[in-house]
Symmetry: C2
Subunit: 300 residues, 2 copies
């Protein structure tokens, strides 16, 4: 049984970029500290929201090292390490383990499509065997709308029974609650996180571990409070409030809109910047979004 398994609200941290699109390591540390101060239970750096697959391997590793050197404990870190290439995934995963990260969030290889369970099993198995460390704790990253790769129930079960000390959790960003619900029922020992806080109460009621959610970049305190009070009388009210904030963002492209609001919070337009192929939100949409959020009484 693993010593430490994440639970609560984790943030797939937005990655700030300088004008030349290189990651801004200092602004990244500042945001990570702020998220932890506001109650985040962990930081799922280098996820989809972080635009991790748009930045280079060396840049990812340098950012992680700088984060830890700046005093963020690796015990709260769950970096994304899955790429389309086996050796690159192994390299990032070994790097995370060597730096003491408590877990890694691992995408399946996402270039080829229509891949069967045996191929996906072999991919994860090869990474686990190559890293070959008892300290490795993998959270499977299921995000078929973007990766276009489905992690089937059968595959999850096979990985879990073969590597019970290594496969400790899963983030389900399928957007399909019935899928999350089935995973929670079939694999109760797995630390399952919903990929959107709109499913937070339902996830916790069915024994789930919490949520790893993009919107936590701007709304972590309220989401964390909902997690904390999930068995209390105001839980439904809190859930409704965080849902309405999420809904406001979902009217716009998620990553650019989260960055636009973060830019406003830090008073730095640098934060608006996204890596191509994504595009900045633009002034009109930003103003509309801020207005919607203000009407909801939202404060970061």
């Amino acid at each position: 049984m693993p010593e430490h398994v994440f639970r609560g609200i984790l943030v797939p941290v937005l990655t700030p970029f300088r004008p030349d699109l290189s990651p801004d390591a200092d602004a990244f540390v500042t945001h990570c500290r702020w998220l932890l101060n506001k109650g985040a239970d962990g930081l799922a750096v280098f996820g989809t929201t972080s635009e991790a697959n748009s930045i280079g391997l060396e840049e990812r590793m340098a950012l992680l090292e700088n984060l830890i050197d700046s005093g963020i404990s690796p015990s709260v870190l769950m970096p994304g390490t899955g790429t389309s290439a086996l050796t690159d995934t192994v390299r990032l995963t070994e790097h995370a383990v060597e730096h003491g990260c408590a877990g890694v969030l691992m995408l399946p290889p996402f270039y080829y499509k229509a891949i069967d369970d045996d191929g996906l099993f072999a991919s994860y198995a090869e990474v686990i065997q190559r890293v070959g460390s008892d300290a490795l704790q993998i959270y499977l990253y299921h995000i078929p709308p973007i990766s276009q790769i489905h992690l089937s129930l059968k595959l999850i079960g096979r990985l879990l029974s073969t590597y019970e000390d290594t496969i400790v959790g899963l983030k389900d960003s399928s957007g399909d609650w019935s899928n999350t619900e089935t995973i929670l029922r079939e694999y109760p020992t797995l630390a399952t996180f919903c990929g959107s806080e709109v499913f937070l109460l339902e996830t916790l009621q069915r024994g789930g571990a919490g949520s790893i959610t993009a919107t936590a970049n701007v709304n972590v305190a309220a989401i964390r409070k909902t997690f904390e009070r999930w068995q209390e009388g105001d839980a439904n009210k809190l859930q409704k409030e965080i849902n309405s904030v999420r809904k406001a963002f979902e009217e716009y492209p998620l990553i650019p809109s989260l960055k636009a609001v973060t830019a406003k919070f830090y008073g730095s337009s640098d934060w608006c910047r996204v890596h191509p192929p994504l595009r900045d939100l633009g002034i009109t949409d930003t103003e509309e979004l801020i207005k919607s959020l203000t009407n909801l009484g939202f404060k970061m």
Copy 2:
């Protein structure tokens, strides 16, 4: 106007792997030499068929350097350099240009989906500006069944008019002949290659440059002959013959089946090996495929 633009039959070269899944540089050189001796006009190394996105950046660059050091002229090389990450794409592209490669075949960034033309334009523009070399010649790589990214007619036109000396060609692996046909009609100055030899005659009849096709790994001589004789009386007969070979392969997963036949040709089962998430073809399917090919009178 660029000095040299590819024309004819290019091979997206299969990448052989050792038992530890590292690329076998020597077997790779041997196969590249054989393909050129058999009539290939160029080698589109590190394409989809090459499993390039399943192997690491360092491995790709080392393989390319070894190929050139072994005496393969970079003037026949069109390496794939597009990844999901901007800096990695720039790194591979600069590396190819520095080593004198005549062109690069560039995938759009393929992690995020539902990306609009502006985002894709910005991605290519950023790479072109960063590489900043007159020697850079890009062949756009359109393979929506796998990348899940569509390069629209409008985007192609915009790239072409903005970077007329850099965007010189395109490989259309959409599998949709009407799409290829429209590109050929709208952009006659672009060196357009069909992604399957089944469209070879039609492509050439409409002013296209040729084909960059997976099956050329095993059938380059016959495909090259069809290209050479496209205006002769036996062209349709030759086209039918290469179609029937292609069809035999399409009954099975393409990359593993091409590797199985290549393994048979070189008498080395090492060639069967694929990287996860793909899987080897297996004995039964290999035997059936070889039987179908033998019935067609196929010889590598």
